[in-house]
């Protein structure tokens, strides 16, 4: 297994439990193991009725519809169907192997029906899976950086580490993540804009194995410019900032770009359903920067940010602090305020506080901004993971020139683009990783078992 994140661990444990000899190669040191999994916090689970931490009911059909909606149909339907159908079994499988779940406490009301939260977050999930893997005899090596696979026709015979070491293998599962930490590769699609991207997760996901697979002729799936990106605080670290830099204030104010102009409907839908589009929105703005602005009314309506807001008593002062054209900002806010209507504000509902008559209206939660102090949060695109990956079939096998590579599998970010052509909804990444990790592990061990016989 190349990659010791959620997908790689699920694959390793599945294969080992089926009787195979399993070696898990993790690029990071032990303290940084599990890559992006460290920053995750839930997975999306279809379930027919309330069970454990999952409230209500979330049918596979509804889950599939949600996927189709956020991707706009840009998805491999059969793989998407597998993802949703296997999600509940994955949840139970993880629980049985020591992963603890909890009901979400901090106000994520909408998500308790659809998502199962990890008690302690992704690090705790990874810890439980690593512990289980160790207990059942998976060999684990840290700081083992696989840079290439060695092939004989369409069969992989060994993996080559960057140290020069070559390890013969019976099968390989590529679960080494996307290439989001590789700004050079991102710049191939985004140009200089990529230099302004922040990488939310591990700096280790430079896409080396993906690149090697594609160079060897494995079929690609997905658009190199596509990714799951979120608008995060521009002051976040360049890498590995994780969840603490996400901002939830957008629905409660307005967002302007460097020119002081609004560019999208801030109140289009509930934040958990919309947060995922704002990364790309900001990426498309001049210099990939935007500013979410709220006034004193919005105080307390959203989770505290790690970084304090930039505050001012008047809009011109705020503009000066943000280096925005003051006239434009004032004009934008005045036009926005004029377009709001006296209605009933209710953040728990898609309320009727909509603006009217603007080129870009705000559909819900629109209130005039006029109570100082004004607070602004600078936003930049934070890339979670990239969508260009290797194409896989229903057994998780990669393809080369139309031919199935019988002993080469992919799971996790490195193939998530098969299901997520574009767009995102919370928790889907972990579901894809776990479902295809288990699939890859099962088929890889079956292959090795057959080969031995």
């Amino acid at each position: 297994m190349v990659g010791g994140g959620h997908a790689g661990l699920c694959a390793a444990i599945t294969a080992r439990e089926a009787g195979a000899r399993v070696l898990l190669l993790e690029k990071g040191e032990r303290a940084m193991r599990a890559g992006n999994t460290r920053h995750t916090r839930n997975l999306r689970v279809a379930h027919p009725h309330p069970v454990d931490v999952l409230a209500g009911e979330y049918s596979s059909d509804e889950f599939l519809q949600d996927l189709l909606k956020v991707t706009g149909g840009n998805t491999n339907l059969s793989l998407a169907a597998i993802t949703v159908e296997d999600s509940f079994e994955l949840y139970q499988w993880l629980r049985a192997r020591g992963v603890h779940f909890q009901k979400p406490l901090s106000g994520t009301l909408n998500l308790s029906r659809t998502n199962a939260f990890f008690l302690g977050g992704g690090c705790a999930l990874a810890n439980s899976l690593y512990t289980h893997a160790e207990d059942i005899g998976v060999d684990i090596r840290y700081q083992a950086d696989v840079e290439r696979l060695l092939w004989q026709d369409n069969v992989v015979v060994a993996v080559g580490l960057s140290s020069g070491e070559v390890i013969p293998v019976g099968a390989v599962v590529a679960a080494a993540g996307g290439f989001q930490a590789n700004l050079d590769w991102l710049a191939e699609s985004w140009g200089d804009a990529a230099r302004n991207f922040l990488v939310r997760g591990t700096p280790l996901n430079t896409g080396d194995l993906l690149s090697d697979l594609l160079d060897e002729g494995c079929e690609a799936q997905g658009d190199p410019s596509q990714f799951h990106a979120v608008a995060i605080d521009a002051r976040a670290p360049a890498f590995d900032g994780g969840i603490v830099s996400r901002l939830d204030c957008v629905p409660f104010g307005i967002v302007v770009n460097k020119l002081g102009e609004r560019f999208y409907d801030e109140g289009e839908d509930f934040w958990p359903k919309r947060y995922a589009i704002w990364g790309r929105l900001v990426a498309a703005q001049p210099e990939q920067i935007a500013y979410a602005i709220v006034d004193a009314q919005a105080r307390g309506c959203f989770m505290p940010s790690l970084f304090p807001p930039i505050q001012a008593q008047t809009l011109p002062e705020l503009a000066e602090q943000l280096d925005l054209p003051a006239d434009a900002l004032v004009a934008t806010v005045e036009a926005f305020n004029r377009a709001t209507r006296e209605r009933t504000f209710n953040p728990d509902e898609l309320d009727d506080c909509a603006t009217e008559g603007l080129a870009i209206n705000k559909s819900h939660w629109a209130r005039p901004l006029r109570a100082p102090p004004y607070a602004a949060y600078p936003l930049r695109p934070g890339i979670t993971f990239t969508y260009l990956g290797v194409r896989v079939n229903e057994r998780g096998q990669v393809l080369k020139n139309g031919v199935v590579c019988a002993n080469v599998f992919a799971a996790g970010e490195i193939m998530a683009g098969n299901v997520l052509g574009e767009g995102y909804c919370a928790g889907t990444g972990m579901t894809i990783g776990g479902v295809f990790g288990r699939i890859a592990g099962a088929h890889a061990s079956a292959w090795v078992g057959d080969e031995r016989r």
Partner: protein, 382 residues
């Protein structure tokens, strides 16, 4: 938190309060650990992280260290978040801040030394006094009749010494408790008094917060969960309670029923005391063993407070059990004097040892259940 001042998120050399605020600010934006224990839900309710809030959170923490192993921001991440270490440091400072009288602050920095000193002094005083008052012949004779113990130390004297030392110790502890309560202040009450008291006592009795939130236990050496530390602590805690119950029943027998110790082996006071003593020894041994196994990132650095406390309790238990076993021999007298000296030392040291931790944690838990009925603040959506 109010945006007026920016704390340096990457500054790692702050004092305990600065580091506590830094860490809590990061945690408050993350909250993945909210299911482990009340510290994180309580954190979400604080408008700022000053000394008052940080003391509260520090005593709410039971040092299970689950939040260290689950933290994606722990070293080597640049944020270098280590919640158990930050809260342990704050807790240690809090013991010193709350102690009465104030000039005893230093007792926590050199707790092992202080304990050894007090024990030595009390031992010397008691041993010399008993030799002087009773003489070696009485001390080393066999005494089997009812009231045998009082041949060594007069009943009245025993009561005055024990009662006096206990009163002294309890006064210090109670005053510290009151100071902590005052510091905690009044939050917005959502839970009733009795509800909060019941929940706090239940959490303490079950040691819920050494359960990791999922009841599979806490972390000690690594990411694996285990209830070992919880059970060891149960041994000491309930062992102590049983010994206390033994003392109460013995007093009842003597004062109300007019029966004099030593009591029969199967009598209530003896059974309670023996079980209690064994519990303390077994549990204490467990705690001592486990204490050395903490993961490197969270190894105890609050000094010798817990070690001194555990050892003293264990030695009291050992001498008490020895006294029971040898009460009909020539060793009874000396063992009694030694055991009594240790008990008196323990009483005198109560406010200057780890003992108040039970009260501080109970008060913190009570405050938690009083100010957050469901255990969590209704925080906005995320």
């Amino acid at each position: 938190m109010n945006g007026a001042e920016t704390i340096d998120l990457l500054r790692l050399d702050g004092d305990a309060l600065e580091e506590g605020e830094r860490v809590m600010q990061i945690c408050n934006a993350c909250r993945y650990c909210e299911g482990f224990c009340p510290v994180f839900p309580a954190m979400t309710q604080q408008a700022q992280f000053g000394e008052r809030e940080l003391s509260y959170l520090a005593h709410l923490c039971h040092n299970c260290t689950a939040c260290y192993h689950a933290c994606q921001y722990k070293p080597p991440h640049d944020f270098a978040v280590n919640v158990p270490r930050a809260l342990t440091r704050l807790r240690a400072e809090s013991f010193a801040d709350l102690v009465w009288p104030g000039f005893m602050r230093a007792s926590f920095a050199r707790n092992g030394t202080l304990t050894a000193l007090i024990v030595t002094v009390v031992m010397l005083v008691l041993v010399s006094a008993s030799f002087y008052l009773q003489g070696a012949d009485t001390l080393f004779a066999v005494h089997r009749e009812p009231g045998a113990f009082y041949q060594i130390i007069g009943h009245g004297l025993m009561v005055v010494l024990s009662g006096g030392c206990l009163l002294f110790g309890l006064t210090g502890v109670v005053i510290s408790g009151l100071r902590f309560r005052q510091q905690l202040g009044h939050g917005a009450h959502t839970g009733g008094r009795w509800y909060a008291l019941r929940r706090a006592l239940a959490a303490a009795a079950r040691l819920d917060h050494l359960g990791g939130g999922h009841d599979d236990g806490c972390n000690t050496a690594d990411e694996r969960f285990s209830n070992a530390r919880r059970y060891a602590h149960h041994g000491v805690m309930w062992g102590f309670a049983l010994c206390f119950a033994a003392t109460l029943t013995a007093s009842f027998y003597e004062l109300v029923l007019g029966r004099l110790s030593p009591f029969p082996y199967l009598s209530l006071p003896v059974v309670l005391g023996t079980t209690g003593g064994v519990g303390i020894l077994v549990g204490g041994a467990g705690l001592l063993v486990l204490r050395r196994r903490f993961a490197e990132g969270v190894r105890e650095d609050k000094g010798s407070m817990d070690l001194a406390f555990t050892l003293l309790l264990m030695v009291i238990s050992a001498t008490g059990l020895a006294l029971l076993a040898l009460r009909e021999s020539v060793a009874m007298g000396s063992l009694l004097v030694v055991h009594l000296a240790l008990v008196l030392s323990f009483f005198v040291l109560l406010p200057y040892s780890k003992a108040p931790h039970g009260l501080y944690r109970l008060l913190a838990l009570y405050t938690f259940y009083r100010t957050s009925e469901s255990g969590v603040a209704p925080t906005p959506r995320s």
